[in-house]
Each structure stands twice: as C-alpha cells, then as structure tokens.
C-alpha cells in the first residue's frame, strides 16, 4: 500500500500545526464558533448532538495493521473505546474532546493518516472498491489512481470552496462494488478500445434530498488525462454550480438542469485548454505510484485446503463472507461488523487490535473498510480460513451474513447526529434481530437506513430503503423499495405512507414475506423478484389491511 514520503509526512504535520493553532485560538476565545466552524470542518471535526465528532480519512478504504492499532489506541485513550466505520470508508469517533483533537491528529500523522477534507465543501476522501487489488474480476488495481487523486485534491487551491461537497469513487470491475453511480464523479477503470487502461467517467450522481444516478459523460478517457479531465469537470462545477440554495448545490443538480450532453460539452471545452498541460500524467509517475500497490508475495502453490469443516456456522461464513480472489488458493474475507442486534459499523478497540493481528498473520498486512460498513481481509489463504474464522468468533465478529438481510447499512442517526430527524441504529438492530433466523432462506437483500434526507445511510439505493423523518414531533419511517447502488443502479421508490418505529420493522418483515411467497425460487433474489413483479404486490401486502 501507499507509504508517505518526506513530502507527504511534512504536509500532514504542517496541517496539524495549523489546526493546533486554530484550536488554541478557539479555546482562548479569540475565534468565535462561527469563525472556527469552517476551519474545524476542513479537518474533520463536527459538533454533534452530545460532543464533537472526529471523522478520520481512510483513503480508498485501505488500512495497515499499525494504522488500525493506532485507531484502537485513539478509541481507548481519547474516546469511549469504540470507533464507527462509515459509508465513506472513513472512521468516526463520537466522543473526543476538542482540546485533545490536535494530539489525536498528531498521533494519526505518526501512522500516515489524517482527517483532511472529511467534511466541508471540497473534494472529500476518495473511495474505491474495497476488494481492489484482490478481486478476480478487476482489470487492474484502481487504488493507484485513487491515491493520485487524493494527492491532487489535497488542499486544492481552486477547489476548496465549491458550491457543495464533492465525492469521487473509483472501481475497476464490471461488478460495481464502489457504487460509482451515486458519486459526484464515478470512475470506472477499464480497457479502452486500443487495449490501454483508461476510464469511463460518470458525473452527477448523488443521494440526499434529490437523488440522481450519475450520467456517463466520457467513455474513453486515457489514464494520462485523468487529472486534467477531473480539473475541467471541477472547474465547470465550481463556476456554474448553483450557490443560491444548499439543496440544489451539488453537481447532480447542475448536470440535471443543463443536461448531461451540454455539461459534457462544457467540460470538453474547458479540458481542451488544459489537457496537454502540467497535469498530464507521465507513465513513469503512474508506475511509481502503482509500485506501492504491487501484489503481495503470494504462495503460488498453497497447500490443498479443506473448505468445509464439520461446523455449520463456518460453512455459512465461508459461503457468505468469502469472495473469489485473483490469486488461486486465496480468498477475500469480509469481516461483518453486523453481529445480530449490533450497531452497524461499530468496532471496539479490542476488536480492532485483534483484526490488526489477523491482517499481519493472514492477510499480508492489509485491511480494508467497505462502504457497507464492514472490514475486509483481502488476501487470505484458503487453508487459513478456519483459523481466521475461529479468531473472529472469539471477538464476536464471525457472523456469516455478508450481503444478507442483517448486513444493514445505517447512519448514526438521532443517537449522535445533529442533522438527524430520527434514530437509525435501533431500527437496524430490531430488523436484524427479527429476521436473523430466516436470513439464509431470504438470501441477498440489502437494507439501508438513513435518519434524515441527507441519506448518509444510502436509503435511495437499498433493495429496501428506510428513511427516518420527523412528523409532529414523532419519528416516522418511510419505506422505499427496489434501489441498487451496484452496476444495475436504480433509485428506490417510496412504497406509501410511513410507519412508526415499531411499525417499520413489521413492514420490512411483510415485504420479506411477500417476496418469499412470490419469488420464482430461491435462485431469484429479492431485487430480481421486485423488478419482475413490480411494486404492486408489496404495496398490497403493506397497505391492504390498513
């Protein structure tokens, strides 16, 4: 994985020193909260319902064991012993003291981490396929490009005061695990018609109050032109994106209002002037970054492994939580942070330490964070799966539910978040408990829960989405059906009137029962059945009796 050189290290140290000075001025009363707010947000510090929250960037979701141990240390020393992995492949601490944050950032800098641009109207932490560098179906590792984008976007002088936040996601496989169509810019690394690597560029996706899927504006961008083209897109957005209404300020609205074709033409016009300038990526530079992501020294003749043990839970776990690796004899392991009835995405300091140990011992020093709020050991020998499983079982993280109905995405919601209208976590916990006994029978089904219209829980692209709103002082939950964030992306539609905190769990179960009753068979997953059947039978089941 990428390692800082002296330049990167000094850059982060200077940023911490700058923020330390700003915090000191705030604590001394020289800065008002209003003056301090834009400064702290640039460094990942939010003021939430009960405390400050620190959001730490995990670029493209890749972590080394020493970094995960540092996060565990920070959780123990400065927080309440827990970290929360988010849908942006980041980690949030919910209880740090403001006066401790500069020290936390210095500790992070010790392990080549930071919190730069995890908030604010700037280019946010770049995300990527969490199976990058391991998945059998990718054309190349997308992370070198994500790292190049990370560097280019760090404190960019032109694009630090955009109309609104800006998210870039990168994938390199036809099966889109990075949800690129819900990003402001989604990049699909692929082979171009000339056989060389390049990108399909999708622009204008986003969730929030007005969800849009991204539009394809260029299908054949040579890799050398990546940064100049991004700069052209960002410049058009910075100049013409709406600034009159915060809810219409994302690039998705601009692309929607002017039309994808006109937007693309504007970008081309801008790009024409800069594509052969200083941003042109020389092959040697791509190779230099690429070398950091060289495949680990795989065992090319791994010993034959018994994948089935006389243990049903292990069998389930292998079936659900391992994924095909590009290297024969290896598997990608998903560590579910969704124990039945647990808080989605939470990991204790002890669990983080244990997973760091496992990564060192069994996964060539690599851990990934998925946007589905799970962790991943990307390179595990098949023969080591039993040992990994057993170790995960000891820390309560061996649930074999990846992609199942209990593998729920949920935002922090009203339990923590200052923006939320309703709680998300308890809803996720109750659905998990309610459906866990039948989850294998139900099969692939993604439930995504947001506690407000900002849609951090990705409810628009859930097979079943839940949106918490507030109505006359009560929490109310809208139910959405039929969304997808993958390569078959679709926006979910609202099923009908909302439900209370108890009723929403019953409603989800009703939808599941209807699916089980009407599906063509166990081989037809929920989304396929919904697309075949349409919304009507589900609506009938939900509302007929009412």
């Amino acid at each position: 994985m990428y390692r800082y050189d002296e330049f990167d290290a000094e850059f982060v140290r200077q940023r911490v020193a700058q923020f330390r000075d700003q915090v000191a001025r705030r604590l001394a009363g020289e800065l008002t909260e209003d003056e301090f707010k834009p400064l702290r947000l640039r460094n990942g510090v939010y003021l939430q319902l009960h405390a400050y929250m620190l959001r730490i960037a995990i670029p493209y979701g890749t972590l080394a064991p020493r970094q995960l141990r540092k996060l565990a240390h920070i959780a123990r020393t400065y927080d309440r012993g827990t970290g929360h992995f988010t849908t942006r492949q980041n980690l949030q601490f919910n209880w740090p003291r403001l006066s401790d944050i500069p020290d936390i950032l210095d500790e992070l800098a010790d392990v080549e981490m930071h919190a730069i641009q995890t908030s604010g109207n700037c280019i946010r932490n770049v995300t990527a396929d969490h199976f990058a560098g391991a998945a059998a179906d990718e054309v190349a590792d997308p992370r070198p490009y994500a790292e190049i984008i990370r560097q280019w976007s760090s404190l960019h002088p032109e694009f630090s005061w955009l109309p609104r936040k800006f998210k870039i996601g990168v994938t390199a496989a036809e099966h889109d695990r990075a949800a690129i169509q819900t990003h402001d810019i989604g990049l699909h690394l692929k082979r171009l018609s000339d056989g060389r690597l390049g990108f399909a560029v999708w622009v204008g996706g986003g969730q929030g109050r007005s969800p849009f899927l991204a539009k394809l504006i260029r299908d054949n961008l040579p890799e050398a032109d990546l940064l100049s083209y991004l700069e052209a897109v960002l410049r058009v957005y910075n100049l013409y994106g709406r600034r009159d209404n915060i809810y219409k300020a994302r690039i998705k609205i601009l692309v929607h209002e002017v039309g994808a074709e006109a937007f693309a033409a504007q970008v081309e016009d801008e790009w024409r002037h800069i594509r052969d300038g200083a941003l042109k990526l020389p092959p040697a530079e791509i190779d230099r970054i690429d070398a950091y992501f060289a495949p680990p020294p795989f065992d090319t003749k791994p010993p034959a492994a018994a994948l089935r043990m006389p243990d049903r839970a292990f069998d389930r776990w292998v079936t659900r939580n391992t994924h095909a690796h590009k290297q024969p004899g290896y598997a990608i392991v998903t560590i579910s942070l969704k124990p039945i009835g647990g808080i989605p995405g939470d990991a204790s300091a002890e669990q983080m330490d244990a997973i760091a140990d496992l990564a060192e011992r069994y996964s060539f020093d690599e851990v990934r964070v998925s946007h589905e709020q799970n962790l991943v050991l990307p390179h595990v020998r098949l023969g080591d799966l039993w040992a990994v499983y057993s170790a995960l079982k000891a820390i309560g993280l061996a649930e074999g539910n990846a992609g199942l109905v209990t593998d729920i995405i949920a935002c922090p919601g009203l339990d923590y978040c200052a923006l939320a209208n309703a709680r998300s976590i308890p809803i996720a916990q109750r659905i998990s408990e309610r459906l866990s006994a039948r989850q294998d029978e139900i099969g692939d089904l993604k439930i995504k829960i947001s506690g407000c219209i900002n849609a951090c829980g990705h409810h628009h692209v859930g097979h079943i989405g839940i949106l918490g709103v507030e109505k006359r002082g009560e929490e109310l939950y809208q139910l959405l059906l039929g969304g997808s964030g993958a390569e078959d992306a679709a926006l979910a539609t609202i099923a009908g009137p909302g439900f209370g905190p108890e009723g929403i769990v019953d409603a989800v179960e009703k939808v599941v029962d209807t699916y089980l009753e009407l599906r063509a068979g166990p081989q037809e997953p929920f989304l396929a059945a919904y697309r075949r059947l349409g919304a009507t039978p589900f609506k009938d089941a939900l509302y007929a009796a009412a």
């Binding site: 280019w152 002088p157 005061w161 300038g277």
Partner: protein
C-alpha cells in the same frame, strides 16, 4: 511564525512588473532567467502582446501605510485606485470599473491615458472580453461571501488561459484562511477590511501549509518526480 510573505521574497521587490511576478509564483523553485517566457501549457490567444505589457507594467504600488486597505508585497499600502460606477464624473487617475460599465463605455474610454482596472463579480464570464484584457492594468475579483469560491477559478482562467499579466486583486471577504489559496491561483494584491485578518497579517501570525500537491499558474513545473506537485519555499 514568520510574516505571511517571508516565503515569497520576490513579492517584496519594489517593482511589481509582470516579469517579476512570474518568479513570485514560483517560490522555492530554481527559476529560469525569464520565467514568464517559459512555454505556457496553452498559448495566450491574445493578439496585442506589446500593448498588454505597456499597460500592466505601469501599475503603481501604493505607499506603505499601516492603515491602508491594500495588502501587497508584505505590507499594507494606500489604494492608488478609485472605483467608478459611471454615476459621478470619471475621476482622474487609475479607476476600476464594473464589467457592465466597461461594455457600455468601451469606445469612450479607449483613448484614456490613465490606467484602467476592471472588477469582475462571481458568475460574470470573462471569455467575452478576452480581447479587452490587455487594456487593464488591474483586475479585481470580488468575494462577496467567503464561501463563494468562483473567483478562484476565474483567477486561474485569467492567468493561465488568457495570459493576464497585470495586477490581480482580491476584494470583498478576504480572510486569513483564504489568502494562501488566493496567492496560489494568481492573486498578488488583497483588499483586506476584516479586522482579525488585518491584525494577523500585520503581526505575521498566519499559519499555513506550505507544501503543494498541485501546479497552478502558467509557470507550472514540468519535471521532477511529481509533475503536478510543487514545493513551496520553506
């Protein structure tokens, strides 16, 4: 902390000719003797190369004055420019016009001897007056709200696409946390009214990150291990 401009020695040079300004934006890099003539990524489309230099080279810096509104070359200075909105009589000396006023009075002002400046508001295009740009010794870009970053793009377009070599002035909400970004996209003078920012500048108390991952400006480097990266002077 050293004063803001300590790392930009050339900005303290008494002359602010555009030739020197090229050096000012290449802090910390070994400079070629004639940086402005280095090949730009895209050549300026402007025809009147000589005319532009005549105008911009004449831009005078105001006298140093701690109460003066203009931060330039490491000191507050008096403003040598006045604004003219077209209502009152055209003042003598250098004036800054809104774009609409320039479009309305272009012919009348064509033969004027005193210097002309132009103020561009966020959202106002500049492509339609590209041919006129060499006639301005100063272009002021307004930041009506600190969160409105459009002028950052306009500044780069003026410098890098249109080759504007005159004085580029930031006006409006010029705040300490924006200054480093402003300098990097091509601004060289700043009208600063915000009292805390004025104090911070006067006392040299602005901390900033001095390492850059992006090239900006027509003198962007083309060699080194990271072509899009350049290092600010330490």
């Amino acid at each position: 902390m050293p004063p803001l401009e300590e790392e930009s020695p050339s900005l303290r040079a008494p002359s602010l000719s555009p030739r020197l300004r090229g050096e000012g934006r290449g802090e910390g890099q070994p400079q070629s003797p004639t940086p402005v003539q280095a090949p730009a990524p895209h050549p300026s489309p402007l025809p009147a190369e000589a005319g532009r230099e005549d105008q911009s080279a004449l831009a005078p810096a105001g006298e140093p004055d701690p109460e003066g509104p203009i931060w330039q070359a490491g000191a507050f200075r008096r403003n040598t420019w006045s604004r003219w909105d077209g209502e009152a009589a055209l003042p003598d000396g250098p004036v800054i016009l809104p774009k609409a006023r320039w479009l309305a009075e272009r012919d009348r002002l064509a033969g004027r001897n005193a210097l002309l400046g132009l103020q561009i508001e966020p959202g106002e295009p500049i492509d339609d007056i590209a041919a006129d740009l060499p006639r301005f010794a100063l272009i002021a870009l307004n930041f009506p709200k600190f969160s409105d970053g459009r002028a950052f793009s306009t500044a780069r377009l003026l410098r890098e696409k249109h080759g504007f070599a005159g004085e580029l002035r930031a006006v409006g909400n010029v705040l300490s946390d924006l200054l480093a970004f402003m300098r990097r996209v091509g601004f060289d003078t700043f009208e600063v009214t915000h009292p805390p920012t004025r104090r911070a500048l006067a006392e040299g108390r602005i901390r900033e990150v001095k390492l850059y991952y992006q090239p900006t400006g027509a003198d962007a480097p083309t060699d080194g291990t990271r072509p899009w990266l350049r290092r600010h002077a330490d």
